[in-house]
Amino acid sequence: MKVDKELLKGSTTMLILKLLDGGDMYGYLMTKELERRSDNTFTLKEGTLYPILHSLESNQMIQAYWENTESARKRKYYTITKGGKKLLLEKEKEWAHYADAIRKVLGGATIEHICI
């Protein structure tokens, strides 16, 4: 199922940080990984990833380094910093709170009821 693009917009930063929290990655790999992990729900316009990555790098949430590959291609890898990990934690909390609130409004009470 395709979701509204606007829904994705606000959480891309969090998703990028989460991906990097699992290990260093370069841009292309991130877009593929995002698609794979979300069962193709998150197919962002791939170019829009880079402005986010660069601004995170400028704010020292992530760091970049270049790595040569077998095909003589240089890849720009990104790695999460301590500050980035902190931001991720905050964003995750914020998201959990938000998701919880949405669920409650949409009738989470009944679900709770069933659970009990």
């Binding site: 316009k45 791939e46 170019g47 829009t48 880079y50 402005p51 660069h54 790595e67």
Partner: protein
């Protein structure tokens, strides 16, 4: 490269005004598109079609470019500029108080002139592209050191210190050399701080050279201030991404041997430089030397202890112009004595805030060469402030250190403006300069 891809990248770059960021963005986007296209081609799609589809996947290039431009554009550190503006105005106000109190108006006019020159210096250094010099760091470092040595050896002397006079303005040669030494030393740290023992030894040798020359001036205090600056840059180099090797072990060895060396130099200087030992015994017991070398300490103590919160002190040393160097080294005591502690505290707060902001700005610079330079500048600037204030408060022996932007005098003014201008210039370019170099982050 495929035309679909190059058209796309060109449109992105068209939005990013600063060319220095272009190279790395081009490679990054190129790789992304090629890799995507190769994936399509593996699914037996034609090359043209594959690239067309890969580019379509990327999104709107103009929009991406606009958003990248927002990150890769010059950054202005407004807080430092505003604080500096406040400090310059406050400094001139204090000099005007001094001028009118002691009827010496030429000092005020000259200081206004120096402030004007200082602002020119800051603009010059702000727009000066320090990265152009990185390549030539090694030769320029040694040339600067050599010129400083020549200036000290063959220049004129004033009260036993090297002194250069140009168009009626005198200054000590190291004021000109120190900013340059910091710039070039940053290049050396970047080049030689890689974990190779030979390079490490070269760097240590190179650090000693200008320090030794400044010591010949003789200026123990500027040698120490610059020494701490270089050491901090060096430490950042060892903790930086290029260093491969045991960081802790290297730091322990370096700091250990340094402590021993500093102790030896200290003993040597105290026993060989005129007024060396006296300075310390006087500091420890000023009252005993009240009629001689301890006079200044006694006067400082008298003024500060009789100062009010607001308004002029009743100390006769203020009304009678009895405080030596009241417009230069001891301007802080003059401020507290003639205007009250409130103004003294304001002075400390302004300088404290700008030091804080300088360190914060330095911490935001990611480019290694620029980062080392900023760290060195922060140290040299803040140590002058700290040493000067401590000696005003009688907490440290008296040295020939002016209070940046407050003490009367052109050399110190220009010197410190140059330092801050350089730092602002590095900060300005922090997101523009992107280099395609391989620097793995060894954890």
């Amino acid at each position: 490269m495929n035309t679909y891809a190059s058209d796309f990248i060109e449109t992105v770059l068209g939005q990013i005004k600063y060319k220095k960021a272009h190279a790395s963005i081009t490679v990054e986007l190129q790789n992304h598109i090629s890799e995507q296209a190769e994936g399509y081609m593996a699914e037996s799609m034609g090359e043209d079609e594959a690239f067309c589809k890969a580019v379509a996947q990327m999104g709107n290039p103009a929009e991406i470019g606009k958003r990248l431009h927002k990150t890769h554009k010059p950054k202005t550190e407004w807080s430092i500029m505003l604080l500096l503006g406040a400090i310059v105005v406050f400094g001139l106000y204090i000099i005007s108080i001094y001028s009118s109190l002691y009827f010496d108006y030429s000092i005020f006019y000259k200081q206004v002139f120096f402030a004007g020159l200082g602002i020119c210096a800051i603009i010059l250094f702000y727009f000066f592209d320090y990265t152009k010099l990185e390549k030539y760091s090694i030769p320029l470092y040694f040339v600067t050191s050599l010129l400083l040595l020549l200036a000290i050896m063959f220049g004129s002397k004033m009260q036993g210190r090297a002194y250069i006079q140009i168009w009626g303005f005198g200054f000590i040669p190291s004021f000109v050399a120190i900013p340059l030494i910091l710039i070039f030393y940053a290049g050396l740290v970047k080049k030689w701080c890689d974990g190779n023992v030979g390079n490490l030894l070269k760097l240590i040798g190179a650090s000693g050279l200008p320090l030794f020359i400044i010591l010949l001036e003789p200026s123990l205090i500027y040698c120490s201030i610059v020494g701490v600056g270089l050491l901090t840059m060096f430490t950042f180099g060892i903790c930086g991404g290029n260093y491969k090797g045991n960081r802790r072990k290297t730091l322990i060895i370096i700091y250990g041997s340094l402590c021993a060396l500093v102790f030896l130099i200290f003993v040597y200087v105290l026993s060989n430089i005129p007024y060396g030992t006296e300075r310390f015994t006087v500091f420890l017991n000023p009252q005993r030397y009240a009629r001689g070398a301890g006079y200044t300490n006694v006067v400082l103590d008298n003024i500060l202890s009789s100062s009010k919160f607001l308004g002029s002190s009743e100390s006769t040393y203020i009304s009678g112009n009895g405080l030596p160097s009241a417009n230069s080294e001891f301007i802080f005591t003059f401020v507290v004595g003639s205007l009250g502690w409130l103004f003294g505290i304001l002075l400390i707060v302004l300088l404290g805030l700008i030091i804080l902001r300088l360190f914060v700005a330095a911490s935001k610079v990611r480019h290694e060469y620029g980062k080392y330079l900023c760290v060195g500048i922060c140290c040299v600037f803040s140590l002058q402030v700290i040493v000067n204030l401590l000696m005003n408060l009688g907490l440290c022996p008296i040295f020939n250190v002016a209070l940046p932007f407050f003490s009367y005098g052109g050399a110190s003014y220009l010197f410190n403006m140059a330092l801050i201008g350089l730092l602002l210039g590095v900060y300005r370019r922090k997101d523009i300069i992107e280099k395609l170099e391989r620097n793995s982050l060894s954890q």
